[in-house]
Symmetry: C2
Subunit: 564 residues, 2 copies
Amino acid sequence: MPDLARRLAVARGDEPADLVIRGGRVFSAFTREWLEGDLAIADGYVAGLGDYEGAETLDASGRYAVPGFIDAHMHLESSKLLVDEFAKLVLPLGTTAVVADPHEIANVLGTDGVHWLADLCTDLPLDVFFMASSCVPASAFESPRRPLLPGDLEGLLRRRRVLGLAEMMNFPGVVAGSESELEKLGLPGATHVDGHAPSLLDKGLNAYAAAGIRSDHEMSTIEEGRQRLRVGMWVLIREASGARNLHELLPLVHEFGPHRLAFCTDDREPEHIAEDGHVNSMVRDAVAAGIAPEDALVMASLNAATWHGLRDLGALAPGYQADVLVLPDLESFVPETVLKAGREIEEIARPEVPEWVKHTVRVRPLSTNDFAIPWEGDGRARVIGIVPDQIVTESLADEPSVLDGRVQSDPDRDLLKIAVVERHLGTGRIGLGLVRGFRLRSGAIASTVAHDAHNAIVVGVKDDDMLRAVRRLSETGGGVVVIDRGIVRAELKLPVAGLVSDASLDEVIADSRACVEAAHALGCELPSPFQTMAFLALSVIPQLKITDRGLVDVDRFELVPLRA
Amino acid sequence: MPDLARRLAVARGDEPADLVIRGGRVFSAFTREWLEGDLAIADGYVAGLGDYEGAETLDASGRYAVPGFIDAHMHLESSKLLVDEFAKLVLPLGTTAVVADPHEIANVLGTDGVHWLADLCTDLPLDVFFMASSCVPASAFESPRRPLLPGDLEGLLRRRRVLGLAEMMNFPGVVAGSESELEKLGLPGATHVDGHAPSLLDKGLNAYAAAGIRSDHEMSTIEEGRQRLRVGMWVLIREASGARNLHELLPLVHEFGPHRLAFCTDDREPEHIAEDGHVNSMVRDAVAAGIAPEDALVMASLNAATWHGLRDLGALAPGYQADVLVLPDLESFVPETVLKAGREIEEIARPEVPEWVKHTVRVRPLSTNDFAIPWEGDGRARVIGIVPDQIVTESLADEPSVLDGRVQSDPDRDLLKIAVVERHLGTGRIGLGLVRGFRLRSGAIASTVAHDAHNAIVVGVKDDDMLRAVRRLSETGGGVVVIDRGIVRAELKLPVAGLVSDASLDEVIADSRACVEAAHALGCELPSPFQTMAFLALSVIPQLKITDRGLVDVDRFELVPLRA
C-alpha cells in the first residue's frame, strides 16, 4: 500500500501534502465545531488538520471548509440529464456524492439499463452510489417492460457500488408479510434497505420496521417523523420538486437533534436545481428557518454517509476522501471552491449514448375511440384531486359531464380526462379517468415520464389532442409534449429511455420551460404541471392514482372503477 | 422466512406476541425518550411498542425497560473465568453482549486457542462477538508462543462472529507506516478496526486515524478524548480494574453529547465484577456523576452496537433482538429482570475443557543465578514506577543497592527486583529490572497473567523466592502465586492457558482474595497487586515496561539498558 504509507508520512508532517487549505475554519462533522489549522490533502484523502506544508496552498482565510454534500436518496433520471451533465450541474453546488435508485430506467430497460447507467458513472468526479431497485414494478397495478425479479436484484447487489436495496415502495406488501417482498428482503446483500412508507403509522409502521427497513423519505408530517425515529428508522428529509417536506420536518432537529436525520432530493427537475440549488438549498433553507448551520451541515454530509455506510465520506478528517467545499459564508451555502477527492473539478467527458437505450416507446396504433369513457345514467365519478406541491393526491368524487353516453372533459369545472397508455410492449392497454387541478382550457399535455413504470400519461380537453400527444411521444422516442388543436406547441425530447435527454442542461431547461409556458398558455396554473402529472401514475402514493390498468385506490391498495 | 412473517403478524397485532412487557416506561435509544405502551416480543425479537396482547405478560409497572448493555471492548480471559461462568456473572448485571479481543489466549495458544474459545461461546445466552487480534505479539519486544501472521488474521476474519481487527496496539508501527502493520490493515474484512493509542496526539493521531483506525479506549485525559472525536474516532470509555478513565472522560458527554461515545471494561478482575458490577457500574457511576440517565443508557447500548455494526442489538425497537433489562430505578442500574432474546436466562451448561488448552507453562530449568543483575561502579538505574489505578507507568531513575557486584532488592527504599521469564517455548530468556510501588518487605509474587505475551512475571525481595515462584507456576500450569521463604502462601490456579480457571466464580474469587491478602501480609499496599503487575510486561503502554527481552522505553519504542 504505497499510497497509504505516503498519506501517513504527510499526516506525520514528514512529507509535504499535495495541497494545504490554509486560514479557514474547518468543520468537524463529529463534534459540530469549527477548528482552525491547515487541512492537508494527500492522494485525494485528508491527511490531517494542524500545522502542515504542501506543494500547493489554497487560501481560505475568512472562509469555511466543510465536507461535500451527499444526497441520501435520489433518482438521477428525474434530472432529465445524462450523468455527465448532471454532475456538471450539481458539483459546483457542492453535491459531491449521491445515492441513486435507478428504478426509472429499470422500469424501461431492466437491469441492462441499470448496468449501463452505473457504467456511465464509474469515472465521474461525482461519486454515484446505487441501491438495487426493489419495486419494479412499484406495485402489481403498474406495467414496466418487465419486472425485476429477486434474481435480478441479486445480480445488482453484487456490483461494487450497489449499497443495498432501494426504497421498498410496496409497503402494504411488506406490512402484510407478502412472500415475494420478504424474499427480496432476505437476499444476500439486502441488509441495508431504504424505506418508502407515506402516512404509515403505529402498528403498520412497527411491522415495516420489524422487516428490517430502517429509513424513510416519504414523511409529510412531524408525527410521521417522530414515529420513524422512535422505531429506529433514519429520517431522510426530502425536498423534491413535487414534494417538499423540509419545513414540516425541521422541528425534529429541535426536538431530537440532527442525529439520524439526513437530506435528500428524491426527484428534482433540472430547472429546480439550476434555479434553486441541490442539497445546498436544503442546508440554506434549514439555516434560514432557524436550524444551526452546524446541525444542517452534518445532516447534509456525515449523516447521509453514516446511514449508507460510506465510511470514507462525509467528514473532513484523516482517512476521509477530500471532498471539500469552501464557503464564503454560512447563509447562501453556494461554494466558492469545490474539491472532489482533493482536486478542482475538471472537464467531464460527454459519453456516447448507444442506440439500444433509445427508441423505447412502443404504442399500439390507437384511435380516438381508445380514449372513450362510456357512462350511463347519473351518479358520481372518482376524480384525482391534485394537491399543490405534493405528490399525494386527494380522492374526490363529482358528477361527470356526459355527451352521447361518453364522459367528456369539462374545463369549466376543471374536470379533465386523463389516460395512461402502456408504451413498452405495445399492448394497447389504457387506463382512463378524471383529474381536477390542471385547469387546461384546451389541448393536451403528455409525457413518457410517469412514475414508476413510465408509460405514456396524457391529460387533455379533447380526445383527438390526447391521441395526437401520445402519437407524438411515440414518434420522438419519448419526452414531454404540449398539443393544441393537433399542433405541437412545445416539446422536450427525452430520447434516452423516454426519460433522459442527451442535450445540454441549457437546452433541456429551455425546452422544459417552453413546455410549461405552453401548458400555462392553455390555462394550466400549476407551477410544474409535468412534474405533477409524472406522479399521478405512481400507484404507491396515496390516495387516488391511475395506471394503464385503471384507477388505483392506494389506501385500499386495489383497482377501483371510475364510478364512485 | 416463516419467522419474519410471524413477527410481522405480531407487529400488526394480528397474532398474539410470545411475551408482552406491560406498564413500564420503555427507553427509545434513538430519541432518548421514555415511551409508554406494551412491548411485544416474538421469536426473540421486538415486534413493536403499542397496544398488544401476548401469550405471557410481564408486569413492569413503575419500572423501566431498557436495552441490554453491550461491552464495546474487553478481554474475556481477564475475568479469569471460563465463558459459561463469565456469562452467569454478567448477564444478571445486564450485560447481554460483549465484543471480545481474544489476544490473551492467542498469545498462548495461537488461532487454535481463539477458535476453541469462540466455539465455546456459540451457544451461550450471552452474545459474544470477537475481533481478530491484530497484535500478537503486541510488539517485537514481546514473546508469544508464535506470532499471528496476516494469514492467521485472514482466517479469523472469515468467522461469522468476528467483526474486524482488534485493537491496533502497535500504534508507533502504524504511525510510522510499518509495512507489516499496513498489511494487516489491508486484509479483506479488516475495514472495521479498533484502536489503542495511549497519549497519542496531534500529527501522530492524524496518521493513526488516516490509517483507517476509528476507535480508541486508551485515553486518560479529556484532551485525548476531544482529539479522537475530532478526527472521527469513537471514544470507548474504559473502566477496567487497573485503568479507570470514566470520570476523566465524562465531561466529553457535556461538551459533545453522548454520540460516538460508548462504554467498555477492557480488563476486569472477577472480584471487581462481583463487587462493583460490569457495564452497569459505568452507567451507575456516570449518572451519579451528573450524566443524564438517557445519555448513559445510550452509551451503554446503542452506541456500542452502532460502532461495531451490530444492527440488531442495542435498542428496543421493531426488528431488534429482545435483550431487555427491567430496572427498578435509574440509580442503581441493577436489573430486576434480564431477558436475552426474549427469554429469562436459563441454566448454562459447563463445557468440557480439553487437555490441550492446559499445561502451557514451559520454563527452562532455572537457578537463582538467572535472576542475578550484575552492576559495576556508581550511577543510576532505570526503575519502573507504578501509577496507582493506571496501567501506564513512570520511568524513574535511582541508585540501586548493590552487593558483591549484583543489584539487590531494597525494601526500605521500595526498590524491588522484577523479572519476566519466557514460558511458552522453554528458551530460558529472562528480562530483569527494578520496580517501585509494590512495597513488599519479604517474599515474591508471580503470575503467568502478564499482558500480552503472558510470560511469567515475578517481583520479589529475594532471588530464591522469585525462583521458587516461577517454578511453582511451572508445576501448576500457571496462575498467580505468593511465596515467602520458599513456601506457597497463597495461589490461584489458572490451568487454561495459564490465564483462566476452570473453577467456579466463588472459588476463583476466594483464591484471588487469598493471594491479595498474602501479598498485603508481605507489605504490599496496592489494592490489586496482581492486576498492576499483569500490565508491567505490556510493551505498548507508556512509559517503562519489562518483557523477557528486557526493559522497554515505550515512548522511544525500544529496548533500553538498566543503567539510566
